[in-house]
């Protein structure tokens, strides 16, 4: 289908084109909800079954990093919303600026995630052959880079976990289930962030040509919808993975 300006041949008007594209994006987001839904269901059932092991696992995540990332992501949703607003009000110069800010914040999030994942490898809590949830508790504090106080908390936590689960083998098995879910859920979320970053990059290049204004801004709006969706997924992931059963010192 040939294209006249921004209007593709299969549509009659720009309004029809926008309505169609937006409906398509909303339906796509519905499929995304079902996609993540399978994971959330698996999480819910297993958390219900093994609350202690999941608690032990949750307490091994870094709350400061998780919290910082939540703030970063909410900020990126704000800048994304601002870029949509800039396009809708024809402030053509502002659109790429806000998009770049969104991309930077998204990249910061992914960077922090890399740091967190690295930590999990160091602490031997990545599912697989070397998984050992008691690794940091059994070794001196310096091996995992923990403070003395954190190390004592961890030892106490693991000891309680072993008691409640009825042995180290059971705790390790069920904690591995928790970390399978942790990596599955955050990994899939991160993958969506990477896709979003690619889309943002394309938007930035296009918006610098001044393509998006009050008359035509469908891509900005729809990629914005996607970005907000990915953000909302994190808003659920953060409390589910980091906050439940968190013991504050």
């Amino acid at each position: 289908m040939h294209r006249t300006g921004e209007l593709y041949g299969q549509y009659k008007t720009l309004e029809q084109q926008k309505e169609t594209a937006t409906l398509g994006m909303w339906i796509f987001l519905v499929t995304e909800i079902l996609f993540f839904g399978g994971l959330f269901l698996t999480y819910t059932i297993n958390r219900h079954q093994f609350p202690t092991a999941f608690g032990v696992g949750g307490n091994m995540l870094s709350l400061p990093l998780g919290f910082a990332n939540t703030v970063v992501l909410i900020a990126s949703s704000f800048t994304m919303a601002m870029s949509v607003w800039s396009a809708q009000t024809s402030k053509k110069k502002l659109v790429p600026l806000f998009l770049i800010a969104t991309l930077v914040l998204g990249t910061v999030f992914l960077g922090v995630k890399v740091v967190e994942y690295k930590q999990k490898f160091d602490h031997h809590i990545v599912p697989g052959r070397n998984f050992d949830v008691t690794y940091c508790a059994k070794n001196p504090a310096s091996v995992c880079g923990l403070t003395e106080k954190d190390h004592e908390d961890e030892i106490k936590e693991v000891r309680e976990g072993v008691e409640a689960e009825g042995g180290e083998i059971a705790l390790n098995a069920h904690a591995q289930l928790y970390f399978s879910l942790y990596f599955g859920m955050t990994g899939l979320h991160a993958l969506h962030m990477i896709v979003g970053a690619g889309l943002l990059l394309w938007l930035i290049l296009e918006s610098r040509k001044g393509r998006f204004d009050a008359n035509y801004n469908t891509p900005v709006e729809n990629i914005g919808l996607y970005w907000h969706f990915v953000d909302i997924v994190w808003i659920f992931l953060f409390p589910l993975l980091y906050l439940i059963n968190r013991h504050l010192a």
Binding site: M1, G9, Q10, Y11, K12, Q16, E19, T20, L23, G24, I27, F28, V30, T31, E32, L34, F35, F36, G37, G38, L39, L41, T42, I45, N46, Q49, F50, A53, P127, G128, R129, A170, A173, H174, Q176, L177, S180, L181, F183, G184
Partner: protein
């Protein structure tokens, strides 16, 4: 070319310009965004997978000729029925009618120039190819033996076959299905021509709307489920592994949450095809239009809340089983609504026995048998006896082959003149339809009896007393094979040598018959305006019908007044 059918039965001419001769060359096909060309790309690829799956089916039937097993080792037999299921379900049945006929027809039926997202349509074909390549790679490197259901922990831990590439392939292929469903839904919502109200939509479109709902709501769940099973196999993640406290039953729940509705992805579009064929060859508006439309949506909705009837014997609470049994019975209501409305349409109609009609009538009978035997299996007590026997095999082949494939082949014949601009040889086509019907029943009816007698499915050998029925089934399968090869041959032949069809050879009432055969790339010269009700033969002078005179049976050109 004008949209008026030829009313004096004379020779038709192909339009000078249409979607097939608009551009030439391999690039014009591989990079096309025309929904009609993409439909033909799908036609070629699903036919390929149909034959891949068909070869496995042939080997299975030959193997079962003798009680001890005739052809292959038990391990190979496990792989044969697994690969048969994977190829047929994920790469033939699910895309067949939606991606071929739906793709070709939905934009024309709603009066649009193309689907809402033509590039995404092409993308979904490429995704299908990538997914299909992974699965073929799995087949070529030894195949897999988990059954098409991929139950964990067999698929995730114990199986020593090429499960991983197959899981990746099916995961990827799911997105093709999601994107097709998304495209259809949006097209029906936003691309309809002026006057094409919701209740003027052809029932084929309603059926695809319901199918698309299942595609977008169900497919993501199988995608995540297979992804988790794949992660478990590849990286020792523990989602469904009892050693880590994971739950294999959870896998089955998630799997069937998609895979039961997937049965309706296969059968609903076929029901849509039948709803188009019947009024055309009965020359009468379809009986209970709105009930048939609503029953499609009803089947899609109820289809989502019956999944656990696959698991009556694999560990679920008795009360849950009772609830799922009851809900499964409920699906019979909208299904029966359709069957009764089709038969009511036949009443006092002017029935002609053209090939598509033979398929439609065959469909009604076979689907009824398949549907009613489904009720046997939904019954908790009876299911204990019939579970995992050949009764189940016979039941779902009556739905999927007797229903979905009959609908697909019937629909191909019905719209073949529109797709290619040419007619197929009528006598051969009728013969093939009858051969298919006979071959099908001979193949699968004995399996009902075998199942009732207790022959389990998926076994590579059986007690000698079952041999007669198994030989009957294999004999039927060879007739069935001829029935499938015949249309392959004469449809291909007719693409070049068939009689020119003209825009509306039956004649039928849908918008697709008001444009040339084959249609233009843009489908219509001008956006059509719809001012008639669906399936109305009386107030349509453009169809060239006069009075209520019955047609001369077997005559392809429209009937007319005085000759």
């Amino acid at each position: 070319m004008s949209a008026t059918p030829n009313s004096n039965g004379g020779e038709h001419k192909l339009p000078s310009e249409h979607y097939l001769n608009a551009t030439y060359g391999i690039r014009s096909w591989l990079l096309t965004t025309d929904h009609k060309r993409i439909a033909l790309l799908y036609l070629a690829s699903v036919t390929f997978f149909f034959f891949v799956g068909g070869i496995f089916a042939t080997l299975i039937r030959i193997h079962l000729l003798t009680p001890a097993g005739y052809l292959v080792t038990p391990e190979t037999y496990n792989k044969l029925f697994t690969m048969h299921g994977v190829a047929m379900i994920f790469f033939f049945l699910i895309p067949s009618i939606p991606a071929v006929l739906g793709n070709f027809l939905i934009p024309i039926m709603v009066g649009a120039k193309d689907l809402a997202f033509p590039k995404i349509n092409l993308l979904s074909w490429y995704i299908y190819l990538v997914g299909g390549s992974f699965v073929l790679y799995s087949f070529a490197t030894g195949g897999l033996d988990t059954g098409w259901t991929f139950y964990t922990p067999l698929s995730s831990i114990y199986s020593n076959s090429a499960v991983t590439p197959a899981v990746i392939g099916i995961f990827i292929n799911g997105f093709s299905s999601i994107l097709t469903g998304l495209n259809f839904l949006v097209t029906v919502h936003t691309m309809r021509a002026p006057g094409m109200t919701w209740f003027r939509l052809p029932l084929f479109v309603w059926a695809h709307y319901a199918t698309s709902l299942i595609m977008i709501l169900g497919t993501p769940v199988i995608a995540i489920t297979l992804l988790l099973a794949g992660l478990e196999r590849m990286f020792h993640f523990g989602f469904f592994n009892p050693a880590y406290g994971g739950d294999p039953i959870l896998f089955q729940h998630l799997f069937w949450f998609y895979s039961h509705p997937a049965v309706y992805i296969m059968i609903l579009p076929a029901m849509g095809v039948i709803s188009e064929i019947i009024p055309t060859f009965v020359r009468k508006p379809i009986f209970g239009y709105s009930f048939i439309a609503a029953s499609s949506i009803g089947i899609a909705v109820i289809g989502f809340i019956v999944w656990a009837h696959h698991m009556f014997l694999t560990g679920e609470a008795t009360y849950a089983a009772i609830a799922f049994s009851f809900l499964s019975y409920l699906v019979a209501i909208p299904s029966a609504v359709k069957v009764f409305n089709w038969t009511s349409t036949l009443y006092k109609g002017s029935i002609s026995w053209d090939t598509p009609m033979l398929y439609a009538l065959g469909f009604i009978g076979l689907f009824t048998i398949g549907g009613l035997t489904g009720l046997f299996l939904a019954c908790l007590g009876l299911d204990i006896h019939l579970h995992d026997t050949y009764f189940v095999i016979a039941h779902f082949h009556y739905i999927m082959v007797g229903g979905a494939v009959m609908g697909y082949v019937g629909g191909l014949h019905f719209w073949w003149p529109k797709i290619t601009g040419r007619l197929y040889p009528e006598f051969l086509a009728r013969a093939a339809a009858i051969i298919l019907f006979v071959g099908f029943n001979l193949t699968f009816f004995p399996q009902f009896i075998l199942g009732g007698l207790g022959m389990p499915r998926r076994y590579h050998n059986y007690p000698p007393e079952f041999q007669v029925l198994n030989v009957m089934s294999t004999a039927g399968a060879s007739i069935l094979a001829i029935g499938y090869l015949l249309p392959m041959i004469y449809l291909t032949w007719s693409m070049r040598y068939g009689k020119i069809a003209g825009p509306n050879p039956w004649p039928a009432t849908g918008l697709e018959w008001k444009t040339a055969s084959p249609p233009l790339t843009e489908n219509f010269h001008e956006t059509p305006v719809v001012d008639w009700e669906p399936y109305d033969f009386v107030n349509r002078p453009d169809l060239g019908l006069t009075g209520a005179k019955p047609r001369v049976p077997g005559k392809l050109s429209p009937a007319h007044g005085d000759d």
